[in-house]
Subunit: 219 residues, 2 copies
Amino acid sequence: MTRQNTQNKILDAAERLFAERGFADTSLRLITSEADVNLASVNYHFGSKKALIKAVLARYLEQFMPKLSEELQKLLQAEQAPTLHQVFDSFVEPMLALNNFRSNGTNIFMQLLGRGYSDSQGHLRWFMTTQYGEVLQQITLAVKRANPALSASEFFWRMHFTLGTVVFTLASNEALRDIARVDFEEDIDVEGLVRRLVPFLAAGVGAPILPAFAMKEAL
Amino acid sequence: MTRQNTQNKILDAAERLFAERGFADTSLRLITSEADVNLASVNYHFGSKKALIKAVLARYLEQFMPKLSEELQKLLQAEQAPTLHQVFDSFVEPMLALNNFRSNGTNIFMQLLGRGYSDSQGHLRWFMTTQYGEVLQQITLAVKRANPALSASEFFWRMHFTLGTVVFTLASNEALRDIARVDFEEDIDVEGLVRRLVPFLAAGVGAPILPAFAMKEAL
DNA sequence: ACAAAATTCAAACAGGTGTTTCAAATCTAT
DNA sequence: ATAGATTTGAAACACCTGTTTGAATTTTGT
């Protein structure tokens, strides 16, 4: 029973520190001292720092991904094509549900997501392609149904623009909310932030295609 | 005359390596060995690694910012309000002009911009607020004229969504273009990428405001 | 209660970082 | 040409990193 205790103490401290400071800037010594365990125990229980990072991400993705998949399935099973707004909206509830899984969970997951992509590239990408490829395909399918006018290439770029908006916003959400709080006394919560993203992204992905590029495609 | 030579050798090697690997992952030993100068010379000529990073960024910003400011001024002086598309379009030419300043300059600057924001937060932000505050205000003014419906808070958030899209896309533009090249044999150049961002951002910033948030604002 | 397995612990390892030092070399003026 | 300032060079400094080691401890199954 001590095993679980130590492992979880490490995971809890690590996820908090990773979210606050990023993966690279969080040393094992800091994690283990905050978790009140021995330095060697992270290598003993997880093998390496990389494996610890994956374990931290996995704990959240296991909660988030099935719920997201379910939401997308609802849209895909409906007879009429979804709107882009609906597609992006289906991310919101699974995101907010993380607050039930762990206190402040939505916020931590958002920052982990941001870090996971921008820090040492690869960790998050690894999960997406190897573990959750089907969900990725559901997303693709839903967006394509919502906006069939997009060519393969335009779709690719706009999805990455979207990813960038999300990753950046999530990674720096606490800093941004701090600024907003002092600049115009608006105390926005995580939910408000997530919900504000939806119309922005839906409009961006649904934007008309420049004639110049449309022509290029036709060649 | 040897001074300039060494300093520039360092700057040239540093900007390339910073763009490729980020600031944190580029050691002074790597920079000085590629520049073929002594390790100590970067501390001698620039004082510290932080100061070197600032010097690298400054060289590009000095080229870019006045041109951007000029483009924005054109829009602001016109009688009728600009469109969002026009506002974001005014970034494109100054961006592309960097290829005349230095070979592959646009691409390097884009990656530096991305790194400068997501890496060790602060460097780029320092320039923006202390050195180029007026340009920042021009941007603000132009966007507000193009979309007066935005409240201060909605404006703030959408500008940061925009920043996120740009920073992320620029930082990973080489990787993304590589994927695009193999996935659907489309060899997009930097210009094509920058131009594709414009309609996405214009649509996002111009998206209708959710009734829920519009109500909140009215309180 | 005891033997065996699992876990914790303090310490050291091997390698990396930015920065400093101070003598040697080079350039710059008189 | 020579004295003085500037620049280069090799080495060391102080500190931090993830990982490994091997003995001490605790937990587990019988």
